[in-house]
């Protein structure tokens, strides 16, 4: 499991903390990279802007919130799927929204999974556990195309 990073795209710091807490308490040891908005997420993924030449690892999974400042989650997803380097990276949409249109758009843009953040922390905790188990352990990630 080591060497696989998780990219968490989330603007709400409470949610970031709660997510990290859930990850930690579920004994998921992977590094979590946090992007506070869509632009930061893309900068990380394409080593642009503040992340220029970061020599980063491509994430094993991206946990993507939809409502983000500057560039929102669906735009991030679209950009990822339109670029060969990020096209195959699993993206799990993790959001408060249960709107049908968000679901439809996410899947049609190539989201691999859609999870609604429950209000009940116990349930949220359980959701993170299952995600980690599935995407980091069970799921075989696509070969890493490049790390330039």
């Amino acid at each position: 499991m080591a060497g696989k990073v998780i990219l968490l795209v989330e603007d709400n710091s409470d949610d970031v903390d709660l997510t990290l807490r859930a990850i930690k308490r579920n004994n998921i040891a992977n590094d979590v990279i946090i992007a506070r908005d869509g632009v930061e997420a893309l900068d990380y993924l394409f080593a642009t802007g503040s992340q220029q030449g970061n020599g980063r690892l491509m994430p094993a999974v991206v946990l993507l919130d939809l409502r983000l400042p500057r560039l929102d989650g669906l735009d991030v997803l679209q950009r990822m799927r339109s670029d060969g380097k990020t096209r195959c990276i699993p993206v799990v949409v993790l959001t408060s929204s249960k709107e049908e249109q968000d679901l439809v758009k996410s899947y049609s843009l190539g989201a691999n999974s859609y999870v609604r953040k429950p209000v009940d922390f116990n349930q949220f905790h359980e959701a993170i556990r299952l995600l980690g188990l599935y995407w980091l352990l069970l799921n075989e990630p696509p070969p890493i195309v490049g790390s330039a």
């Binding site: 949610d15 408060s96 209000v119 009940d120």
Partner: protein, 795 residues
């Protein structure tokens, strides 16, 4: 030589008018002759000196007498010249000559001179010769004229005349004698005695020299067979013939004068007359009309069979009968004085007619006469049509005809009565009809007033675009037609409009409604009907309602509606945005509250006493409940906003599936689900599932305090409507709060008692309403609740 001249002197001669021409080559003799003639009182004669000159002058001057010398020089001597003058100009000639040898005298005689004077001659001789010549010439002229007259009469007479010789052969015939028997020429050889048509008896008498006259039916065929002559006539011709022999001292007579006339036509009309007389007699005897000929004393001169019958007498008794008796008028029979003395005879039409006709001999009467009294045995008076006619005879007779018209009168009378009755009935009917007409007129007038006051226009149009009727509304809007056609006075066109809705009706013969923008700029809603006029012709009845205001209001309404629609759409968008943000944004802090409360409980459990832990638990419960509230609220709004689909939904299957899930979710509970099978409907599958979920979920929830539960999904019919219901035997509710049941966030139980946000039934109601149905509930506390719903148009 003028040795006569002395004698002539002193004589007074009477003046003569006859002109004399002298032809004498000796100039002295010619002058002497001229002198002598002048002294005899003749106008001075012309003188010619040769034969040729004599002929020329005779032709030119036409003298009454020529004195001519026989011995003349030149080619033409006196005798030759005389011959010419006599024959060509018929002028008498007296020869003068000194020679009188026998030969010359003989030659001269041949020229039939009027005189012959040998020179020298006495004046007296000359005078006598001239007188004799002129007299002879005059006599001869008269004879000639009389012959001509006679010949003219002979020729032009319409009577055929033939003069025959002693053998009876025609010597001379006139034109009529050829024309009557159709001859082409006079038959020269055939004698009248060889004609077989000449009867025997006259032949004898003619030979004895007696004249005869007779009429014969002359048969041309007989004459033709014997080839007596050529004729174009054939058959029989009646001839009136008279033959007179002349020179009767001889035996047989010297000749015959035959005269004849065609009397065929006369014969024929005589015959016809005889026949018609006979016919008339028969007619008179056999005609069923009583006929009497009365003399001027009104006595019967003649009567026919019918008249005798009328009089009740034999034919023989009729003659001399007084007219009143002949007519069987009892007035005249009872009164010894006869006709005219009865009490009503003054007015007797029959008597007046007869008397007047006899007296005037002019009048024709035709009168109806009712025989005044009845004879014994007669049951009815008889009526006669009596006619009188004066007869064209010398004795002033009149003809009286009587026709019994009693029966005819009776029939006439009956007819008259029938006609009178009919007339009365017709009059009654007419009165009734008149009343009806008046009522109808009144009705019509009322109807007309109604038409005139209608607040819509009404016109009648003919197929040739005339406008025979337009009510006041129409006239006020569009003016009067004044006989112009619709397109002329409404639109100022010369041709009918290319497109005309109105006249479509004539083709389809079906009513039509359409909207019309009139020439006055107003909108009309127009109704056209095919309309049959009273005479059977097809018209169009058009009515138009002015809908301008209505149109404007509609337009305004439509605009308002459109604006509202836009605003609603905008609002909906806003609402959607709001909902979205609520769903996303409100949940995040709740998660934080819940998450960090949990973190506190986990990480700082040692530092918290029991109350602190309880508070944190309450914070968590509240936040979770709020999350549920938000979700439910969003769900409810989605019910309203989401697009409706229409599919066939098997309600039974859906309910069964939900029931199965619910039973799995509550494995420890004793729940008895009953689901009616085979219920399908049209609707939105997602919403209908949500509807049943809510209801069944509620049923499970509100039966949770009971050890066992019976939950039933079924259907019933009420008022022709399909009513679904979900029934449980749980906590039920107080019916006094039934109004609050379907309001959002309205709850009849505390959340601690039964969990829930109060959104379920509100959602149910919205789903039912979106399907056009109704929802209601019944409940009894602790006895259970039933929620009923219908789904709109379902039968």
């Amino acid at each position: 030589m003028c040795f006569h001249s002395l004698e002539a002197k002193g004589r007074i001669s009477t003046l003569r008018s006859e002109r004399v021409l002298i032809v004498e080559d000796e100039a002295i003799e010619a002058l002497d002759l001229q002198h002598r003639l002048a002294s005899l009182g003749f106008p001075t004669p012309e003188i010619a000196h040769s034969g040729e000159e004599g002929v020329r002058k005779a032709e030119k001057t036409r003298p009454d007498l020529v004195l001519l010398e026989i011995l003349l020089p030149g080619n033409m001597d006196g005798i030759m010249a005389a011959e010419k003058i006599r024959s060509q100009f018929e002028i008498p000639v007296i020869y003068l000559t000194a020679y009188a040898d026998e030969n010359t005298v003989q030659r001269a005689k041949m020229t039939e001179p009027y005189g012959y004077i040998v020179k020298p001659f006495q004046e007296r001789e000359l005078n006598i010769a001239i007188e004799v010549s002129l007299y002879k010439s005059q006599m001869q002229r008269k004879l000639r004229e009389s012959e001509e007259i006679f010949r003219g009469i002979f020729e032009s007479s319409p009577i055929g005349i033939a003069i025959c010789d002693s053998l009876g052969r025609p010597v001379s015939v006139n034109k009529a004698a050829l024309e009557i028997p159709g001859l082409f020429e006079m038959p020269g050889e055939s004698s009248m005695f060889s004609d077989p048509n000449l009867p025997k008896e006259p032949r004898e008498r003619l030979r004895n020299g007696e004249p005869v006259r007779f009429q014969i039916a002359y048969d041309f065929e007989k004459a033709k067979r014997l080839k007596l002559y050529d004729t174009r006539k054939s058959g029989i011709m009646w001839l009136d013939m008279s033959i007179t022999p002349f020179n009767t001292e001889q035996k047989p007579p010297g000749g015959y004068l035959i005269q004849f006339q065609d009397i065929t036509e006369i014969k024929r009309s005589e015959q016809a007359l005889t026949e018609s007389e006979r016919l008339l007699e028969i007619l008179f005897a056999s005609i069923p009309v009583s006929m009497l000929v009365l003399d001027k004393d009104r006595r019967v001169f003649e009567a026919n069979e019918a008249a005798a019958q009328l009089a009740g007498r034999d034919m023989g008794e009729m003659f001399g009968l007084q007219s009143g008796e002949a007519l069987q008028c009892l007035h005249s029979m009872d009164d010894p004085r006869g006709c005219g003395w009865g009490p009503s005879c003054v007015d007797c039409k029959a008597r007046l007619a007869i008397v007047d006709t006899i007296e005037s001999q002019r009048s024709h009467y035709q009168v109806e006469w009712q025989r005044p009294l009845m004879r014994e045995g007669e049951t009815k008076e008889k009526t006669f049509l009596l006619s009188t006619v004066p007869l064209p005879t010398a004795r002033n007779e009149i003809l009286v005809c009587l026709e019994n018209i009693t029966e005819q009168k009776r029939v006439e009378e009956e007819l008259r009565k029938a006609r009178d009755e009919l007339e009365t009935r017709v009059q009654e009917r007419t009165r009734g009809l008149k009343k009806a007409n008046e009522a109808m007129d009144e009705e019509r007038q009322r109807f007309n007033e109604v038409l005139e006051t209608l607040p819509l226009y009404l016109v009648l149009l003919t197929p040739d675009y005339q406008v025979p009727f337009a009510n006041r509304f129409f006239r006020e809007r569009f003016g009067k037609s004044h006989g112009r056609r619709c397109f002329e006075y409404l639109f100022g066109r010369t041709e009918p409009c290319e497109i005309c809705e109105t006249y479509k009706v004539l083709k389809t013969l079906a009513p039509l409604e359409w909207e019309w923008l009139g020439p006055d700029g107003r909108n009309y809603y127009v109704y056209d009907f095919p309309f049959t006029d009273t005479d059977g012709s097809t018209l169009i009845l058009e009515m138009g309602v002015d809908v301008t205001e209505q149109k404007r209001a509609e337009e305004a309404l439509r605009k308002a509606h459109d604006e509202l629609e836009i605003r609603v759409q905008e609002r909906t968008k806003e609402l959607e945005a709001f909902t979205y943000s609520v769903s996303h944004d409100l949940r995040a802090p709740l998660r934080s509250i819940d998450g960090f409360s949990q973190a506190l409980l986990e990480d700082y459990t040692a530092k918290l006493d029991e109350q602190g832990k309880d508070y944190l638990s309450r914070v968590r419960t509240a936040s979770q409940r709020m999350g549920q509230l938000i979700d439910d609220m969003l769900a409810l709004s989605r019910v309203t906003r989401s697009e409706m689909r229409h599919e066939t939904v098997n309600m039974s299957n859906v309910a069964q599936a939900i029931a199965d899930e619910l039973r799995k979710a509550e494995p420890h509970r004793q729940i008895d689900f009953t689901v009616a099978q085979g219920l399908t409907t049209e609707g939105d599958p997602f919403l209908l599932r949500q509807l049943l979920e809510n209801l069944l979920d509620n049923a499970v929830k509100f039966t949770s305090k009971h050890p066992s539960a019976e939950i039933k999904f079924g259907v019933m019919r009420r008022g022709g409507e399909r009513v679904y219901y979900v029934r449980d035997d749980g906590a039920g509710f107080d019916m006094s709060y039934v109004d609050k049941l379907f309001g959002p966030f309205q709850r009849l139980h505390a959340p601690t008692e039964f969990p829930g946000t109060g959104i379920g039934l509100a959602t149910v109601q919205r789903i039912v309403h979106r399907h056009g149905g109704r929802v209601w509930a019944e409940g009894v506390v602790e006895k259970g609740a039933t929620v009923y719903f219908t789904l709109g148009t379902e039968g």
